[in-house]
């Protein structure tokens, strides 16, 4: 569980707060998506979750451990794994399995157990067949899955992904989102996915919208996307399904806005037409 208590953060050479009083609790086992446009503070929020950044005011608690306490650094980072935007800049070794072994090696895990963790992590992300490959010869989506495996080998309970799909092609994006969703649904991990692609949020349990360093909306994806005007204010788009219903409602219909699934939306449209 991660808890933010009135967190403010200002970058050292900046004249305004990038986070202005964020209060937030992320529940165990949930899939939380954080959406926001550039400069909304969503990446800053993510970097507070494993003590890469420390709040200038307020505090962040990971399983009750205050991240600003130096003594908590390793336990916090072992609990919250972090995957970054650029897969090239987070892979440290020139063989896939050696890279995945990096985190457990740092933690001083016995060699036989490292082997086991590495194999399991690679199987979970579906990269076991590529374990002997050189990372620079893999595709973007594959590299990012290796990076996820590298974090999984640390056996964290929470995994935070800071725009993991921003540098990937559509195929790679699908691979990564599917892997992340499976981690939450099948392995019971808490997943926090930071993104600016709204389609990636649809499968989440909870959607948080960041705007100007504040939480602008918080709820299920259906609830959040229904607030079309608020989303537009935050500089964000809504899914096509919501957009169609919204436009039709303006023309006098009364369609529900929270059906994000294409099938359900189509059914609603058909019944409204009759």
């Amino acid at each position: 569980m991660i808890r933010f208590e009135n967190v403010h953060y200002r970058y050292p050479d900046s004249d305004h707060d990038s986070l202005c009083g964020v209060d937030l609790t992320i529940e165990e086992g949930s899939f939380v998506a954080v959406l926001g446009h550039n400069g909304s503070g969503k990446s800053t929020l993510a970097k507070h979750m494993n003590a890469i950044l420390l709040p200038t005011e307020g505090r962040v608690l990971v399983d009750g451990m205050d991240t600003s306490d130096e003594a908590n650094l390793l336990p916090v980072r072992r609990t919250v794994g972090m995957v970054f935007q650029n897969p090239d800049n987070q892979i440290v070794a020139n063989v896939v399995e050696e890279d995945v072994a990096f985190a457990p090696e740092n933690l001083g895990v016995p060699p036989a157990e490292i082997r086991e963790r590495v194999d399991n992590a690679l199987k979970t992300v579906g990269m076991y067949e590529h374990r002997q490959h050189a990372p620079h010869l893999l595709s973007g989506g594959q590299k990012q899955r290796v990076a996820i495996a590298g974090v999984l080998a640390m056996q964290p309970r929470i995994i935070v992904l800071d725009e993991p799909t921003a540098m990937l092609d559509p195929q790679g994006r699908k691979e990564v989102v599917a892997t992340v969703t499976r981690l939450c649904r099948e392995n019971g991990m808490t997943v926090v996915l930071i993104t600016h692609h709204m389609e990636e949020c649809i499968g989440a349990d909870r959607l948080i919208v960041m705007s100007y360093g504040k939480i602008a909306a918080d709820g299920t994806p259906g609830e959040v996307f229904s607030q079309v005007e608020l989303m537009e204010q935050a500089g964000l788009d809504v899914p096509e399904t919501t957009r169609i219903c919204w436009d039709l409602n303006k023309a006098g219909f009364s369609l529900p806005l929270d059906s994000l699934d294409v099938e359900t939306c189509a059914e609603n449209l058909i019944s409204a037409a009759h």
Binding site: R77, V92, A93, E97, E98, P104, N106, V118
Partner: protein, 265 residues
């Protein structure tokens, strides 16, 4: 064109030479180099040459690959040979000539020495993966930690550098294409002009390398990296019987060369 750069190129294989512990191979190369510089007479040189040929045969590395690696060194080899030919006093080959029999002999020996030196080190990098090499180096240098040599830091820097060579080459290619698309000319002009044209490549490359380093550091820390203390390794290196035999053979070669030197052979 940049894809041709090979630093410590590794040819995967499954020969005895590949399976040897990297520590053994590092020590063997060291013994080999000492033996090479101890060799004086033709018999000594012959022995080292024989050892090199045997190693090449065992590791299935074709002489072609060794010669390919020698190419960039040809100029240095030729220059050393020329200097030795012209600057050695002794009996002239033909009366009145500057070239002497002694000079000729020394030149040939010098060429042989440099060639063998390079061939021997190539055999190491051809049969050992860079990761194994840095691992071996770290373990061999471990005693130096007692005198506060940052062994772990040195080896992790080496392996990071090796890891990022392909990434940075790719990046250089991209920057060059971008500059070419805007009319940069890297192929024509005098040497100075071409060197100047490289500047617009180097600046962005350095900027991006620093940015990468920054991100990499954060990513490493996120994965609980906190220096070499209390670190374990997934792959443990183990010395097998073949390693001890190989080391014994290496010592034997060195001993033989030193004995031969005493007899002036």
């Amino acid at each position: 064109m940049l894809k041709d750069i090979t630093l410590g190129q590794y040819f995967p294989g499954d020969t005895v030479a590949h399976r040897l512990d990297p520590r053994t191979k590092l020590i063997l190369v060291f013994l080999y180099i000492v033996a090479l510089f101890q060799a004086k007479g033709w018999v000594g040189y012959g022995l080292v040459l024989l050892a090199t040929v045997v190693c090449m045969a065992v590791s299935h590395i074709s002489p072609k690959n060794i010669f390919k690696g020698l190419k960039p060194m040809l100029f240095i080899i030729a220059l050393t040979a020329a200097l030795n030919i012209f600057y050695t006093q002794g009996t002239p080959i033909v009366e009145g000539w500057i070239i002497t029999w002694e000079g000729l002999e020394r030149a040939v020996k010098m060429m042989l020495r440099i060639t063998l030196l390079i061939a021997g080190t190539f055999l190491l990098t051809y049969t050992t993966s860079p990761m194994a090499l840095t691992d071996g180096l770290e373990l061999l240098m471990n005693p130096l930690k007692k005198v506060h040599v940052p062994v772990h830091e040195i080896t992790i820097m080496m392996s990071m550098a090796l890891r990022f060579i392909p990434t940075l080459i790719e990046e250089t290619d991209k920057i060059m294409s971008a500059q070419k698309a805007r009319g940069a000319d890297f192929e024509n002009g005098s040497l100075i002009q071409r060197a100047k044209a490289l500047l617009p490549i180097l600046v962005p490359l350095f900027v991006s390398a620093f940015r990468r380093a920054d991100e990499l550091a954060v990513a490493m820390e996120s994965r609980c990296y906190h220096g070499g203390e209390g670190r374990t390794r997934m792959k443990q290196l183990k010395m097998a019987a073949r390693d001890w035999i190989a080391l014994a053979l290496g010592l034997l070669l060195l001993a033989a060369v030193i004995v031969l030197k005493h007899f002036g052979l």
